[in-house]
């Protein structure tokens, strides 16, 4: 029964996603569509953290490392090769390979959970400092000047694969970004329902038991970490396509902290929660940013404190449980009626 309701939820989310995908260009202005693209980038970013933390049980305090590596790898590759399809590929592969190496050192070195938080945080700070100190023409990769704290201006926008002259419009970018979000969500759901996903969650629940049942916890953690980094990198590519420029602030502590808040507010241990948390809070931050009355980060802090105190499980789990209660009560009522009717 639980199995069926879970899959019904999955289908419902997919349908809702498709509706949003096709409805937004019809009803939202061009400016609005561009705005929505950054929401998708943040949703994808939150999904990467939500999968790793909520299902893998791994707390990464420096998720911005992978977002930033993806964004920079996309920009540098696209500038050098022209075709942005290679940029997308690099934007996913570079953070994934980086995570594979870092994760190998952490998980196979039996670093404790607390230190994994510290190490990932430190790595993001190092990357920030590294990229931040690349001012001057001598710092370039191929034709791409890294630009230090000014970043890389005019990052190429997505083109049709193999056709550099055919650059996508903001609406086209919306379709690609939102479709990617739906696909990544669906793939994660399927992965979590597979053998692999069951073991990942089992390790979160009890690593010792999982090992005693013959599973190499280090390998599964490494794979989750790498998958998460690849998704964050994809978010970085979308982010590039929204702004058309990239700077080292993407590696900043604020970016790593924000995504933790997105996940907490949306709901840890769900996939849709981080997505909605990312969209909702980015919206609130944009609003605060345009009002110029409150500092967006201060606003985010207030939201976090309010949620931790009032809705510690996050929005989606609360709604889901309420809906489930309603469903069960209705079901019980229906069953009673059936019993009494001859």
């Amino acid at each position: 029964m639980k199995f069926n309701s879970a899959w019904a939820g999955f289908i419902a989310v997919l349908i809702a996603g498709l509706v949003v995908l096709f409805a937004v260009p019809q009803i939202v202005s061009l400016f609005g569509i561009v705005q929505m693209t950054v929401f998708v980038a943040m949703a994808m970013y939150a999904l990467s953290q939500g999968f790793l933390w909520g299902f893998g049980g791994i707390m990464c305090f420096g998720q911005a490392s992978f977002l930033g590596l993806g964004a920079y790898a996309y920009a540098i590759t696209a500038i050098n090769l022209g075709d942005t399809s290679w940029g997308m590929l690099a934007g996913v592969a570079v953070p994934a390979i980086f995570a594979l190496l870092l994760g190998y050192f952490m998980f196979y070195g039996r670093i404790s959970d607390a230190y994994i938080g510290v190490i990932t945080l430190t790595v993001s700070v190092i990357l920030f400092q590294l990229i931040n100190s690349t001012s001057g023409a001598q710092y370039h990769i191929g034709q791409a000047e890294l630009g230090g704290f000014n970043g890389i201006p005019s990052v190429p926008t997505l083109n049709m694969p193999g056709d550099v002259s055919n650059v996508l419009s903001p609406t086209g970018i919306w379709y690609v970004s939102m479709a990617l979000l739906i696909i990544v969500y669906a793939l994660l759901r399927l992965a979590l329902a597979s053998r692999f996903g069951r073991v990942v969650v089992a390790i979160r629940e009890n690593e010792t038991r999982a090992m005693l049942l013959g599973y190499d916890a280090r390998l599964y953690k490494l794979l989750s970490f790498t998958i998460s980094a690849a998704i964050a990198g994809l978010a970085g590519c979308i982010y590039d396509n929204w702004g058309g420029f990239i700077s080292p602030t993407i590696f900043g502590l604020a970016m790593s902290a924000e995504v933790i808040i997105f996940v907490l507010v949306g709901g840890l241990g769900t996939l849709i929660g981080p997505i909605l948390g990312g969209v909702g809070l980015q919206y609130v931050m944009n609003l605060a940013g345009t009002q110029h009355k409150v500092d967006p980060n201060l606003g985010l802090g207030v939201v976090l404190v309010a949620f931790v105190l009032l809705v510690p499980q996050g929005v989606v789990p609360v709604i889901r449980d309420k809906a489930m209660q309603l469903f069960i009560r209705r079901g019980a009522k229906a069953a009673r009626i059936q019993e009494t009717s001859p």
Binding site: M1, K2, R195, R198, V199, V201, A202, R204, E205, N206, T208, R209, A210, M211, L212, L213, G214, Y215, D216, A217
Partner: protein
């Protein structure tokens, strides 16, 4: 050719934690489909010895062999794959998952989806866990959580099963069922059972090994062990029935 290779062979195993010697030069040999009881007072080193057998601890000294293969220093997951399953003293289960999912995680390794499902159902039925199959294990009573853990162990079909205090905290009826189950498992698989309950030991035991202060005090038939004055002194004492 003529020599029979034992299922488990622990030779001079020692485990030290700083100044504490928890397991002190223990040797233990177990044949195929043998049932062994391990008794001894609290702190005698029984659980620590199990940890060295399953790779949770790397022994300070000594070698451990499974069917002649040296497994000393292997990881728990590697030893599990060689056919060793353990129910630990402090239950190790997946609290946030259902009983069904707990057993499925164990059963899916090396099996097709259909075979895994069949194994889960068979194991749940064997342990009479079907009524709670869809409940979260964290919400079950202590005795039932122990059964779930035993179910995960059985679903792997290990050749050697280690049970660390399987009857602890169980009702009298549950204890009897556990004894029956152990005898049934022993028809096809070897077991080492750590237990304090003397009645329970009498129900199942043939050969008993007695631990005391990290050492093997004696190893003999259950009747001889329970009649031995040294064993009474260190262990049974006033509790002797």
């Amino acid at each position: 050719m003529s020599e029979i290779v034992p299922l488990l062979e622990a030779r001079n195993v020692t485990m030290r934690f700083g100044g504490v010697t928890a397991v002190d030069d223990v040797s233990l040999v177990l044949g195929e489909v043998e049932l062994r009881c391990l008794i001894g007072p609290n702190g005698a080193g029984k659980s620590t010895f199990f940890k060295t057998l399953t790779g949770q601890l790397n022994p300070t000294e000594g070698r451990i062999k499974l069917r002649g293969q040296d497994v000393t220093g292997l990881l728990p997951n590697q030893i599990a794959r060689l056919g060793v399953g353990i129910k630990t003293q402090i239950p190790n289960v997946f609290n946030g998952l259902t009983a069904y999912e707990n057993v499925l995680v164990a059963a899916q390794r090396g099996r097709s989806a259909a075979m895994a499902k069949a194994m889960v159902e068979k194991t749940l039925a064997r342990l009479r866990l079907e009524p709670v199959a869809r409940r979260q294990v964290g919400q079950l009573a202590h005795g039932q959580r122990q059964w779930v853990e035993i179910a995960t162990v059985l679903a792997q079909e290990p050749d050697l099963i280690l049970l660390d205090e399987p009857a602890a905290g169980m009702t009298h009826e549950e204890v009897e069922r556990t004894a029956e189950l152990i005898k049934e498992i022993n028809r096809t698989q070897a077991l080492v059972v750590v237990e304090h309950d003397m009645q329970f030991i009498r129900m199942i035991a043939q050969t008993v090994t007695v631990f005391n202060q990290g050492k093997v005090l004696m190893e003999d038939h259950v009747d001889a062990v329970l009649a031995d004055q040294r064993v009474r002194d260190v262990y049974i004492g006033k509790a002797a029935a």
